[in-house]
Symmetry: C2
Subunit: 222 residues, 2 copies
């Protein structure tokens, strides 16, 4: 590193009013969504929160959707990390990887409903406009696919297309989060976590009755 005090970077940002207006806007958006939901996200409100004109935002983001995409991107990074951590923890403790990933999934959604809404609330239309977003979402999904492949290699899952199986697991998790958030679930007294544990068991063992025991002899149990 050079000794002198750091020279201003070429792309010194926000040297006008803020150290980093761009990140300040993202944080303000997050805080707004947390209190008022994505529906209550307004550029005027975001501007007011950071003490800046409502149009200053356009220097940093193409439009409102781009701001929301930025929030979603941060969310997907955290999401990806949460899934990876859940998988790693299961591997370390020799636990069930499917249950661990399911719990990590709904755990993230419960801990960060703000991010989850921005990521999956359907507000982002032209998904292609944000390649980073797509890439990060794909990376998170890959965590699921790899888990399936790993379980297959270890003989815990039967053979089958890992991507297809991962999509089914993802659909189950996502649907559960959405229905739960909408208050449409839990007509039983079980919480979402219990529901995930039960789902993992069903996905592993199936709904059909246990196959007949070998008829010849019953060992160890009367």
């Amino acid at each position: 590193m050079p000794a002198k005090s750091a020279p201003p970077r070429k792309k010194a940002r926000g040297s006008y009013h803020h150290g980093d207006l761009e990140q300040a806007l993202v944080d303000a958006a997050l805080e707004t969504i947390r209190t008022a939901g994505v529906a209550g996200l307004t550029l005027r409100g975001v501007g007011a929160r950071v003490g800046v004109s409502r149009t200053a935002l356009y220097r940093h983001f193409r439009d409102k959707e781009a701001l929301l995409a930025r929030v979603a991107l941060e969310g997907f990074r955290l999401f990806h990390a949460a899934l990876a951590a859940g998988r790693a923890r299961a591997a370390r403790e020799n636990g069930d990887a499917l249950t661990a990933l399911g719990l990590a999934y709904v755990g993230f959604a419960a801990a960060h409903p703000t991010y989850y809404d921005a990521m999956f609330g359907g507000y982002l239309t032209d998904w292609d406009r944000y390649p980073e977003l797509d890439e990060e979402a794909r990376a998170a999904f890959t965590e699921l696919v790899d888990m399936v492949g790993s379980e297959q290699e270890r003989g815990r899952f039967a053979a089958g297309h890992p991507v297809e199986i991962a999509e089914i697991i993802w659909s189950l998790s996502h649907g559960m989060v959405m229905l739960s958030a909408a208050g449409q679930l839990c007509r039983t007294d079980a919480g979402t976590e219990d529901l995930i544990v039960a789902s993992a068991r069903i996905l592993r063992d199936g709904l059909r009755p246990a196959p007949r025991q070998p008829v010849a002899s019953a060992r160890k149990r009367s």
Copy 2:
């Protein structure tokens, strides 16, 4: 029936400009959502479509959300009917009830994305404000619960809380519909229908490898 021409009913509705402005507004809303999505639904647009002032609507609906709730109610009626029909068809043809209901579910969503969005898009906040809606949604869900109970009685599903199992099936179906609509699914070349068929198979048989054959003798197969 009385012979004379029908006397005006007590609650003759819309005798001003339309035969039935209320239903006309609902139809206009449906058509608007079909072309522009729920996000593009505007009271001004609805009014213009039926040739009426943008405020005439308030004579028939409390607010915009109430109009949307009415659309969702019609949707839930159709949805309930579609699920019941799928179940009845499976029973008649002795087919797999789980697969049949899953296909009926995604089939409805594919055939009526407009309704599905109004029903599950998250635009309806105070769900309690529309008891009819809640009742009809519950009725549709009961179709799933009953199917599970029936399969259990017939010995095709193992014992377990039917509501819990139904919630898991519903979550899977809903998540698949949502992700599919958002274009996040189908990274494999399989369509949603194939995915549902695969899901039903996994839910029934489980992901784990088939249990060991009885070791004593291998019959019929080498």
